[in-house]
């Protein structure tokens, strides 16, 4: 009986992994197939990769995406970490309300947020374009960073800050030498979230992009609408490999949330 359950469990796990990874694997394999119509047997080739690198539109969209994601990550992580530390250290009227208000943006559908941002940005004169996308992405990523960093701060003993101050350390020295080293795993995790939110972002980017200045997801969507080419498989495969490598590397160096 227990053996049966064990096998059922393993089977379930296998199905789950297959469900998650099979589409990605097929996409990866097909990006190396010369036939654009998924014909078997596979005729191995890197032709789609050469075409991809020759496709100026996709390449520029990739460059846009990377720039915006990196900038979003830096800004959102810095702001979010500072905000988390401020919320952790200080008591002020309305603190609870502020903390509660940080969560709903995560739950509000991006379609709604995107529409609202588009309307608002036009109204205040920011308009559309890469700067608007960046602004929107930072706003979207910020709550994730604050939630993750605050969770890590919950494991921080505030008496360590007091001890450092009693030894003559000023606010900045306390933050840099005591608080930041402790919450660093949370900061890295928050940065990863910020990067992912920005790099994967389609809806908000789609609303805020101007023609010729789109991000990669927007460009992929446009390309699929015109007619699917396996170049998309190639660029997606590259993205999957890089993101997974990034994730595994981070997981290797930091155990999220746990004690070091």
């Amino acid at each position: 009986m227990t053996r049966l359950l064990e096998w059922l469990g393993r089977g379930f796990l296998g199905l789950l992994l297959a469900f998650l990874y099979l589409p990605l694997v097929i996409m990866g394999v097909m990006s190396f197939n010369r036939s654009p119509f998924y014909q078997l047997p596979i005729d191995w080739s890197t032709t789609w990769y050469s075409q991809l690198f020759a496709n100026a539109q996709l390449m520029s969209a990739t460059w846009n995406s990377v720039t915006i994601a990196v900038t979003t990550t830096i800004i959102a992580t810095a702001l979010g970490t500072a905000a988390s530390i401020a919320l952790f250290r200080n008591e002020f009227p309305g603190k609870r309300i502020l903390q509660v208000l940080l969560f709903p943006p995560i739950a509000i559908p991006w379609l709604i947020t995107g529409t609202a941002m588009l309307v608002f940005f036009f109204w205040v004169g920011i308009g559309r374009g890469p700067h608007a996308i960046l602004l929107g992405h930072v706003a979207l990523a910020l709550p994730y960073v604050i939630v993750v960093v605050s969770a890590r701060l919950q494991t921080f003993d505030p008496q360590l800050e007091e001890a450092a101050r009693s030894l003559g350390a000023n606010q900045w020295q306390v933050t840099r030498r005591i608080t930041l080293p402790w919450i660093m795993p949370g900061v890295i995790a928050g940065a990863l979230f910020a990067f992912a939110v920005s790099f994967d972002q389609f809806v908000v980017s789609y609303f805020l992009a101007t023609p010729g200045q789109a991000t990669l997801p927007v460009e992929i969507y446009a390309a699929i609408r015109k007619g699917f080419t396996p170049e998309i498989n190639a660029v997606s495969t590259i993205i999957v490999v890089i993101s997974m490598a990034l994730m595994l590397l981070t997981a290797r160096f930091f155990s999220f949330g746990g004690e070091r």
Binding site: A164, S166, G168, R177, I178, P181
Partner: protein
């Protein structure tokens, strides 16, 4: 080394008055224990002296400089925390050197001072360890070295021994005292443990509900408690209540208790349990001693000490007897108790 003075300091948290008009002088180079139950305001006072918090009213001065508005990082104090608060991401050496490094002290000078501090707390060889690789007693020594290596004007200790087990605690009491004497630093020590306060300090201040109720050297504070609270919190005491008569008090059962230095109108007195003797049958009782007849109600054997609870016509007295090998009375034995007039302390307040 410095002299610390606290003048008329009050601090409230909401409606709760944590400190109420407290004035204390902490002598230069002395070891001062702030003793009190939890909620008595002793930790609040320590945090005010440290500079983590500021008083609502009153002055705090270190060596005559008014510091009550100076933040902690500028006060040049050293503090040791109850849970030590060692920096987990740093080695022992870096923990101890932290205060010197934030002051921008040159590296070679710093290394020598850190090593000297580690040697003083007998941890000279453990500099590269991380805090989690140390025992409780070792962590405590690191915390102490870290607190004094910057040559602070005052050393503040917040229940530093409470996290240690009993045997280690006694060792560390001596150790702490030795190091304090060696560097001669003014030390203020917060504790709820009366034994710690008595054995370690030069002066004791007893706090209760945010007020200083008594202050003085340990022996004097123990021998002449001014209040029922001081008598029972610092050590143990039998409190007898009656009506005031010439030279003492008369209890409800008619017994008169004589006091050597009576206070006019005083209706209570305290007698330490170890001062009461049980007279062996037929043995003479010194003239002038207070004497009572009683029956032993309970007996608690603790090896070196036997504690008796004796009923003296309605008055229950606690008596400590050294287990010196002589024949000791047992439950229901009728006994004669006596103690000197000098051991009877008048109690004038709660």
């Amino acid at each position: 080394m410095a002299h610390v003075s606290v003048r008329n300091v009050s601090r409230s948290f909401g409606a709760h008055k944590a400190l109420d008009d407290v004035s204390i002088d902490f002598p230069d180079g002395g070891f001062y224990a702030l003793l009190g139950p939890s909620g008595s305001g002793k930790t609040t006072l320590l945090r005010l002296i440290a500079g983590f918090d500021f008083p609502d009213e009153g002055q705090i001065a270190i060596d005559g400089d008014s510091v009550e508005r100076v933040p902690v990082e500028k006060r040049r104090i050293g503090m040791m925390f109850q849970n030590y608060a060692l920096f987990p991401n740093m080695s022992v050496r870096d923990n101890v050197g932290f205060g010197l490094s934030v002051r921008g002290e040159p590296r070679h000078k710093m290394a020598a001072e850190v090593q000297a501090a580690l040697d003083l707390v007998q941890l000279g060889s453990l500099g590269e360890r991380r805090p989690h690789q140390l025992s409780g007693g070792q962590r405590q020594r690191v915390a102490l070295a870290r607190a004094f290596v910057t040559r602070p004007r005052v050393l503040l200790l917040d229940e530093p021994l409470s996290a240690l087990d009993k045997a280690l605690r006694v060792d560390m009491q001596f150790e702490l005292k030795r190091i304090q004497r060696e560097i001669g630093i003014t030390t203020i020590f917060v504790t709820h443990d009366q034994e710690e306060a008595l054995t370690m300090s030069d002066r004791i201040g007893i706090l209760r509900d945010g007020r200083l109720v008594q202050e003085g050297p340990p022996d004097e504070t123990y021998e002449r408690p001014g209040s029922a609270f001081a008598a029972t919190f610092l050590g143990d005491a039998n409190i007898c209540e009656g009506i005031a008569i010439e030279g003492g008090i008369r209890l409800a059962n008619g017994t008169e208790i004589n006091i050597e230095k009576p206070v006019k109108g005083c209706t209570r007195c305290a007698i330490r349990p170890e001062r009461i003797r049980i007279a062996t049958s037929g043995a003479p009782i010194p003239a002038g001693d207070n004497r009572l007849h009683g029956t032993i109600l309970r007996r608690v054997f603790a090896g070196n000490i036997i504690t008796y609870f004796v009923d003296c016509s309605g008055l229950e007295l606690k008596v400590l007897v050294q287990n010196d090998g002589s024949i000791q009375p047992y439950i229901n034995d009728a006994v004669r108790l006596h103690w000197s007039k000098a051991s009877t302390v008048p109690i004038v307040s709660d």
